[in-house]
Symmetry: C2
Subunit: 429 residues, 2 copies
């Protein structure tokens, strides 16, 4: 490339260099102008003296905040400049001017409303806070894939347009597909099963959609799921995999995103393994002891999840052995007690960030469970038939990318952790 | 995990092991049964003697192809068995029975029709040919992301549901979105630009949709794009990046997927860099010399692309400096001759696998080009405004994942390279 990144300048004092970036600040002292030049790697002070070069001086005088410039010159050590170096320009070229006033303060010192920031998301990406969140998200994804690829997992590409609901329950977005009616997938569930029963170990990061109408701080209508499915595995096998993946991600982010976590004022402990396993029944008892009213078989409310987290006194823990009535038809019931099933949730800092199950791999049992849920096996013939030609036992889980990003970055609104959030009201940008 | 992969058995001769997998073949010789057991890592011969253990013998007798079993026992060196080892079972447990007849031959020796294979895709994944294609695709994606992450790129997540067409031209799928009308994105174009003008270097792998009605061997309605966008970069800068990424992917696949390439009977050379750059005008002249009839300004037909590849005599090469009329409004025209623009295609083995451009970062020029295309700048106010607050020059490109997989694996139909293809007629599975 034709330019040197600002982060590298310190190692190239005295050399003729070309920098490029944004004018983050300008201070005009009459005979001297200090420009703060910013690029993705850092900031540097550019010192322009009127007497040195009238042409450069004139250009520098005309600059405003967020103007994009190219600067040729050299760096010198400086005792005055706060970073210990300054850049002496021989030439400044304006690549693009910025309009003024700016939509909001890109340094983040003057706080802007979330809605304004989302409206001008392209500009918000420049603020240290927002850019830190997505640098962390990049490392979350990198660590997730790396961990699984190192263990021989195959990356799969489930389709997004599907012909019918895979799970039922949540509402689907319709997509007229030529002469047919189709839907946006709410989960890659069936597809990852179809892959795992042949490839054995598979993963994907894939967008999914739920047409739910409510607007909550933890809810979006388009999210990305990090999914895993493993053959010849039980729920306990994939719980071990999940806790290892979580710890690996937490370690990698802490190692590689020190600066970003500091910008966000975020510190976290790495949970030690194995994580505690609390059965659903134990969890209900814990809540009953604290006077919470709930029946065995009901799901926990969000406040109950948080209370439970404080009662269990662990940053991260599993709730396992859920009531079969709470879970979809494809979840493997316990052999000795079919009222409970091989399902688990992972709670991290009071938020459910993942859930998973062992699936039913036996066509006959699947048919019985579909009937028991009051559904018609005829509607699931294709699905059932997938397990007819030698399907091994298999299990898997799913992590919501934006939710995991929320807990790792300490954000309170999921919209902070999605580049271009989609909710009932927001479809732009 | 409770089982040992078959690929590891050779290092653990004599130890008590548990294997699990599919019955790939059974030969019953009366007093001895040879089972071929297959898992994701390989195959092994399981030798069952009637005299050794009647119970194991009985289970073994009952087995059919693709039954899923768990086998406890130990491995012995054997001069008779073709791989030099055999497994002596102490216990066989059936995990799932397979229905019979099978949808088609999972060894791939008896060829099945593509449509049948796609109908039973979950089963087709077991054939050596299909499983090799997707193991290679996994490495293509790994290499692509690794190359970019090592160079400081940020992974971005463009939205899939959008409020309006980003490029126009190709048809869009409509998605009724609560009270509004929305569409499935045909390209992450605007979004990667919005990210690059702040993050500088970004990439994504993202599904995109085009509602085109024709059915061609190189065409699908849902594909995955591997996209890159770089700030402070020209078309030539990102062409260099593209050729380096391509060579890195080709090298990594050749290194890591020797066995898979062998299964597919596929060999390829790694092109040497820099790739040849042919201008659009030179390409037209080459075709004219061969008597092809076409006007300057027209696009090349698929046969012309293939002819051009044979005339240029390079496995991979760029066609650059396209006519401005051929490209979207956002492409930067040449300053000295606005009839041509900063756009390029990458042809590899006669197929266009990537195209890219330098974009217009100047709001006023963008407005003029929109008008010149006969479009209304009012419809693009949001887009134009993104470049109003200090947008650096930027450029990018896009590779179709399925197309790249096609060329690397040597497949002739893109449906082979998409796990669950979507075309006008196919929506299942």
């Amino acid at each position: 490339m034709w330019r040197t990144m600002i982060g590298e300048v310190r190692r190239r004092i005295g050399e003729e260099l070309t920098l490029a970036g944004w004018v983050a600040r300008k201070r005009d002292l009459g005979r001297i102008i200090f420009l703060l030049l910013r690029d993705a790697s850092g900031v540097i002070q550019v010192t322009v003296k009127r007497e040195d070069n009238p042409e450069v001086w004139e250009t520098a005088s005309s600059l405003g905040r967020e103007d994009v410039i190219k600067v040729r010159g050299h760096a010198e050590l400086s005792e005055v400049s706060h970073a210990g170096i300054e850049f002496i320009p021989r030439e400044i070229e304006v690549l693009n001017r910025s309009a003024s006033p700016l939509p909001f303060d890109p340094t983040g010192k003057v706080k802007a409303e979330l809605d304004t920031r989302l409206d001008y998301r392209f500009f918000d990406f420049r603020t240290p806070r927002t850019s830190s969140i997505f640098k962390i998200q990049t490392q979350i994804l990198r660590a997730f894939r790396e961990f699984l690829l190192d263990r021989g997992f195959i990356e799969i590409q489930p389709p997004c347009i599907i012909s019918s609901a895979s799970e039922g329950g949540a509402e689907l977005f319709k997509v007229p597909y030529f002469e047919k009616e189709a839907y946006l997938a709410q989960s890659p569930q069936l597809y990852k099963q179809m892959c795992a029963i042949s490839f054995e170990k598979v993963f994907t990061v894939v967008p999914v959609w739920r047409a739910e109408k409510f607007n909550r701080p933890t809810h979006l209508n388009e999210i990305r799921q990090m999914d895993v499915e493993v053959a010849f595995a039980s729920d306990e096998d994939v719980m071990r995999l999940l806790e290892e993946v979580l710890v690996y991600i937490l370690e990698e982010v802490r190692e590689r995103c020190r600066g970003e976590l500091e910008v966000l004022g975020r510190k976290y402990e790495i949970p030690s393994l194995p994580l505690r396993r609390v059965t659903y029944t134990e969890a209900v008892e814990l809540l009953h002891e604290r006077g919470e009213e709930m029946e065995w078989g009901e799901d926990f409310s969000k406040p109950q999840e948080r209370l439970l987290s404080s009662l269990v006194e662990e940053e991260a823990f599993f709730i396992k052995d859920w009531p079969t009535v709470q879970k979809p038809f494809y979840v493997m019931p316990h052999e000795e007690n079919p009222e409970i099933c091989h399902a688990f949730d992972l709670l991290y800092e009071g938020l459910e960030i993942s859930s998973g199950t062992q699936r039913i791999h036996l066509p006959e049992l699947l048919r019985r469970q579909i009937l028991a849920k009051g559904l018609n096996p005829k509607d699931f013939e294709y699905y059932i038939n997938c397990f007819a030609y030698g399907a091994p036992p298999h299990a898997g889980w799913s992590i919501g990318l934006e939710r995991l990003t929320m807990t790792i970055t300490g954000m309170k609104n999921i919209r902070e952790c999605c580049m271009f959030p989609r909710d009932r009201n927001r479809l732009i940008p």
